[in-house]
């Protein structure tokens, strides 16, 4: 297989590529496993770059344009590397009613970012979510994997400022 050709520089001597191959083998290289494999690839590499998409497409026998189409259809997949820290702002209805829009714009102003963007130094990515299902605690934000409820603009800014100061 064109493993080396497809991922010449991006796969250093780590076993991420092996894990990706193993995942594809587990799905018997079926084309319908594309989304599952993209999940795996993103978990391993943090994002999906073109070489990776090309490689997965070739292994699963899915045309490149379809791979790209699937990778850009779903919100979860990202083709750009994320920042070191991620702040997810929930924009579900319950959170919206309790004012997450204000928190979001405060974060955008403070860090000169738009939703989906990353600070130039690669420290912080600002992401929005369509309901995290923790509506009882609205407004909800996620600071790197940790869910925080009843957040205010001040507490949110305190967290992100802290990251920016000690990257």
């Amino acid at each position: 297989m064109a493993t080396a050709a497809a991922l010449p520089t991006k796969a250093p001597a780590d076993n991420r590529l092996k894990m990706l191959d193993a995942a594809m083998t587990r799905h018997r290289h079926q084309p319908d496993a594309l989304i599952e494999i993209l999940h795996t690839a993103q978990e391993l590499y943090g994002y999906l770059d073109l070489d990776c998409l090309k490689y997965v497409g070739r292994c699963l026998k899915v045309p490149p344009s379809r791979v790209y189409g699937v990778a850009t259809f779903y919100n979860v997949f990202t083709l750009k590397p994320r920042g070191e820290h991620t702040c997810v702002v929930c924009l579900g209805t319950a959170c919206y009613v309790k004012g997450t829009a204000t928190i979001l714009s405060a974060l955008e102003r403070e860090h000169h970012l738009e939703v989906g963007g990353t600070t130039p130094d690669g420290t912080l990515s600002l992401v929005s979510a369509r309901c995290l299902g923790a509506c009882g605690l609205a407004p909800v934000l996620v600071f790197d994997q940790e869910i925080a409820g009843r957040v205010t603009a001040e507490t949110a800014l305190a967290r992100t400022r802290n990251w920016m100061e000690q990257p």
Binding site: P63, P64, Y68, G69, T72
Partner: protein, 236 residues
């Protein structure tokens, strides 16, 4: 082959079993506007222009995908349907940058012709004026996203007839774009065979030949190709 009888706009018409309402209408010269439909390609039911009223159902049905059923009563041109179709054409005209005056497809464009036939003289919706690119990297043809209506005829002809699957859609909703390979310049596509079928099925000026003002369209060439292939006309 058994024959089905149904009523279309008050007239009894006959249809081959399994025929779509659109095929029946065309056979009997009853006009139904279409955009995503192309003779010989699979149906997607996406443009919603061919919606018709079927008695007994409160849902409008896409004529291109609804099979004729014995005893069906179909209306293809009520005032409501005409109003919906006008609105859909207006929505398309407002969606991207359709500037007929400077388009290679002026007067041969299916979208423009639909607008004329429906009496759409202006668009009531806010023009979205998105900033979209053109891809002129291919030696022979150009893709202009400004004029694309996302009918996916190019995607289907490339997949179903040519078998290359160079084209597909990326993104979603209003950000949907037709792309080649991994959103790479068309001229560098590894999968494209430069057969040009996509250009020939494009209803607007989104795909066109360099150096021409209008591309020659043949609405039947795909059917012809398919027939030739299925009946092995060339290797008898």
């Amino acid at each position: 082959m058994s024959v089905t009888t149904l009523t279309m706009n008050g007239t009894l018409v006959s249809a081959a079993e399994g025929a779509t309402l659109l095929a029946v209408a065309r056979e009997h010269h009853i006009p139904i506007p279409t955009l995503c439909h192309f003779e010989g390609l699979s149906e997607v039911g996406a443009c919603r222009l061919c919606l018709v009223e079927v008695e007994g159902s409160n849902r409008l049905q896409a004529a291109c995908m609804t099979k004729a059923v014995e005893g069906m009563t179909v209306t293809t041109n009520s005032e409501t349907l005409r109003s919906y179709r006008r609105q859909i054409v207006e929505l398309l005209l407002a969606e991207r940058n359709h500037v007929c005056a400077v388009c290679v497809a002026n007067h041969t464009c299916e979208l423009q012709n639909l607008a004329v036939s429906m009496g759409v003289h202006h668009v009531r919706y806010e023009p979205q004026a998105p900033q979209l690119s053109m891809d002129a990297s291919h030696p022979r043809w150009i893709l202009d996203h400004n004029r694309c209506v996302l009918c996916t005829r190019c995607v289907r002809v490339c997949d179903e007839i040519e078998g290359a699957h160079t084209w597909d859609l990326m993104g979603r909703g209003r950000h949907t774009l037709v792309i080649s390979d991994l959103h790479e310049p068309w001229g560098q596509s590894e999968s494209c065979t430069s057969c040009g079928k996509c250009v020939r099925v494009c209803p607007t000026g989104a795909l066109f030949e360099k150096g021409t003002s209008a591309t020659n369209k043949d609405p039947h060439f795909v059917t012809y190709l398919k027939m030739a292939r299925e009946q092995k006309l060339w290797n008898r």
